[in-house]
Subunit: 157 residues, 2 copies
């Protein structure tokens, strides 16, 4: 070994040592990702139910709807796609995944995800206005983007 290379090797070793824990954290196990994924969709279901309930009540709860719409919008724009990373196709989280294999391969999924993000942002904006009729329309639009993906890529119960 040439003596001149030693500092470079030491530097590389230092990078490797300090980077190791970070790399481990960047790559949670597939089972962990699927548990988070299933949790994220449960949280979407919770907030969907809150908005639906408020729209069907005699007195519309603007605050409740806005909070719920904000959660949905934050998740829809929160890089949910990272929870569908390679290796998660068949991994078990809280339970077996309900995602069909095609979800991980078909290019149109990106467009469906973009539609979902756009309508979720739209609902959060509409919810801030407080007009129940407008919220209902935005909510229905959002629901169609959910359904489009579920119909094609979610295993039937």
């Amino acid at each position: 070994m040439k003596p001149s290379r030693l500092p470079m090797l030491l530097a590389a070793l230092l990078v490797a040592i300090t980077a190791a824990p970070s790399i481990a954290q960047q790559s949670p196990k597939p089972e962990q990702l699927v548990k988070w994924r299933q949790s994220a969709y449960q949280v979407l279901a919770w907030n969907n139910a809150r908005i639906k309930s408020s729209l069907e009540e005699a007195s519309y709860n603007r605050d409740e709807v806005q909070r719920a719409a904000n959660v949905i919008a934050a998740l829809a724009n929160g890089n949910l796609g990272s929870l569908f990373a390679p290796g998660t196709e068949k991994a078990k989280g809280w339970r077996e995944t309900a995602a069909r294999p095609e979800l991980f391969t078909e290019p149109r999924v990106a467009q469906l995800a973009a539609d979902f993000s756009r309508e979720a942002t739209g609902l959060a904006q509409t919810a801030a206005s407080g007009d129940p009729a407008a919220v209902r329309e935005s909510f229905n639009k959002l629901g169609r983007t959910c359904k489009a993906c579920h119909d094609a890529y979610r295993v039937k119960d």
Copy 2:
């Protein structure tokens, strides 16, 4: 029955009929609430891990951190308390609840929840600025509010 009371009774009946489905939706079963609750905390853990990971990486990912902080803030301000409704003290969601009984009775919990909401909002605001040092400080503040509640009210593994 006096005839004059009939319209009032009919009106009351109409209210009861139309309100019934709404009441059913407003009151999901405790098991459902606990499943949503456990899911919400998993989503918090996911986004906590993303921010932690970005802060420990050589290159800070501002976009990633901001998206994650937005999810945490939306949930922290999203009325998580409703998922701790009466009846959920011992209900099983994905698994047995990790919430200790005192969580449902001690008045100081409201203050801990308010602390959490405040610091989550602060982190989302700091994340928008993009300064990693400021984000680290906000993230640590938020972490202390998580820990304060977990130490007192979460069953030890």
